[in-house]
């Protein structure tokens, strides 16, 4: 039995009620339905705003982070006054202001194998708005194992992807990507950047797909992957088929319960010291500064992209972008003390692994990158 709409709701949703594919019954369906959004960042922000505006009765928000100034260029559900506040609180306040008739559940915790089933259980549709591979595989496996549709979106600079993975009717995320990339190969948005509007486009497509699934209308992206390029303004689709060797939704599954996804992806857990390569390989900004002042000969290698040098740089550093490093090893002398750095320490960790595997031993990672250097040693440099 679908819930009735009040007079106020009939007025609020009048533009929906005028569309035959939605109508009064469709709007009542939306009121009775629920969506869980994992990640209240660039993708989750527009998705949450539009689902709340559309009158989806119950919206769950998962995020353990707090609002940072560098989020505001794209995470439009949060405002400047919310910097430093929990993202789920910030988003909930905005959604309830937009539409007080919806119910907003908040989960201020990392989404993990231990809590995923409990958190996701009441919801009809799951939206993957996360920013890391372990949570994407967790979200996929959870949806396969519990029979829920996973509305997928992902972004990188100007490129976006979107699909609906529903193993009951088609392929899942693992059918397309059985394994994650080697750690560090595909940089995160924090390292590589992202056009702020891009997750707006993709997150809005995710909200559209969720609404269509809840209403049972149209053709979803199930079995198709949308490839969006904002620079070319191109939308391409490729066909996706169920992978008969899929380890979670194939005929002979190996994954029958949620696993350790950090281990699966070869990355440290969420509480790992970000920007560290491990204590044996790290040097702090203060330690490096002291060594340089004592006249120690150090070969400083900046593995950032050339355009980042316009933001900040360290005197005397040589720029070899991470993508070029493998082909430019001959420029480095293994006999020298080498310190690698990037913006925050994750790309330089990848560079360090590359050098160590090539036989370099006297090599260190500047923990926390040039941003740590700016905070601890050279405060006139901006943090970005």
């Amino acid at each position: 039995m679908l819930p009735e709409l009040s007079r106020e709701e009939i007025l609020r949703y009048s533009r929906h009620l005028l569309i035959p594919e939605v109508g009064l019954d469709g709007q009542r369906k939306l009121k009775a339905s629920s969506v869980l959004i994992i990640g209240m960042g660039g993708l989750g922000s527009p998705a949450a705003l539009y689902l709340a505006a559309a009158g989806v009765g119950r919206i769950g928000l998962v995020d353990y982070d707090v609002v940072d100034e560098s989020n505001l260029q794209r995470q439009v559900v949060h405002g400047t006054s919310m910097v430093g506040k929990r993202k789920v609180d910030s988003a909930r306040a905005r959604l309830l202001d937009l539409n007080p008739d919806v119910e907003v559940d908040i989960f201020d915790e990392p989404f993990t194998s231990a809590n995923a089933v409990r958190i996701a259980n009441p919801y009809d549709v799951i939206i993957d708005g996360t920013d890391n591979f372990p949570t994407r595989y967790l979200t996929n496996d959870l949806c396969v194992l519990t029979g829920k549709p996973n509305v997928y979106g992902a972004v990188f600079r100007f490129d976006g992807q979107a699909s609906v993975f529903d193993a009951r009717v088609g392929p899942c995320y693992r059918c397309l990507f059985p394994e994650p990339p080697p750690p560090g190969l595909i940089p995160s948005c924090a390292d590589a950047g992202v056009l702020g509007i891009l997750p707006g486009t993709i997150g809005t497509i995710q909200a559209t797909e969720a609404i269509k699934l809840l209403l049972g209308i149209g053709s979803s992206l199930a079995g198709r992957l949308l490839l969006y390029n904002a620079l070319d303004m191109s939308f391409e689709y490729v066909k996706l088929k169920k992978n008969q060797n899929c380890k979670v939704c194939g005929p002979h599954p190996e994954v029958t319960a949620l696993i350790d996804y950090n281990e699966f992806c070869g990355v440290p857990g969420v509480f790992h010291d970000i920007g560290s390569a491990g204590k044996d390989w790290d040097i702090t900004a203060c330690e490096l500064s002291i060594q340089m002042k004592t006249g120690m000969a150090i070969c400083l290698i900046d593995v950032r992209e050339p355009h980042e040098l316009a933001i900040s740089w360290i005197e005397g550093a040589k720029n070899i972008p991470l993508g070029e490093l493998a082909g430019r090893l001959a420029e480095l002398d293994p006999a020298n003390e080498i310190v690698l750095f990037c913006k925050s320490g994750s790309r330089s960790r990848g560079a360090l692994e590359l050098l160590v595997s090539a036989g370099f031993r006297k090599v260190k990672n500047l923990k926390g990158g040039i941003n740590a250097w700016a905070r601890e040693v050279e405060p006139k440099l901006p943090v970005y």
Partner: protein, 90 residues
Amino acid sequence: MPTIRIPNPLRSYVRGQTEVPVQGATAGMALEDMLTQYPAFRPQLCKADGSLRAFVNLFLNGQNIRDLRGLDTPLGPGDILNLVPSIAGG
């Protein structure tokens, strides 16, 4: 001459190009030609046995070559292969 389209996250391995013109009568030969031009790309894209790593797909005219004949999928001279890696940003 077939072309391999390179998505943004992998362009640093091909000196920033959006497309790499290649020679080859099959997807595998085209891939091999690109990796010969950009050897540092090989360990990122391929396993030791030469097969594509599982985080990346090659699509020919909208179809995954895994659903066609894999690296033996024949190519025409004007064909475009789309390299599609997993990305995680959100």
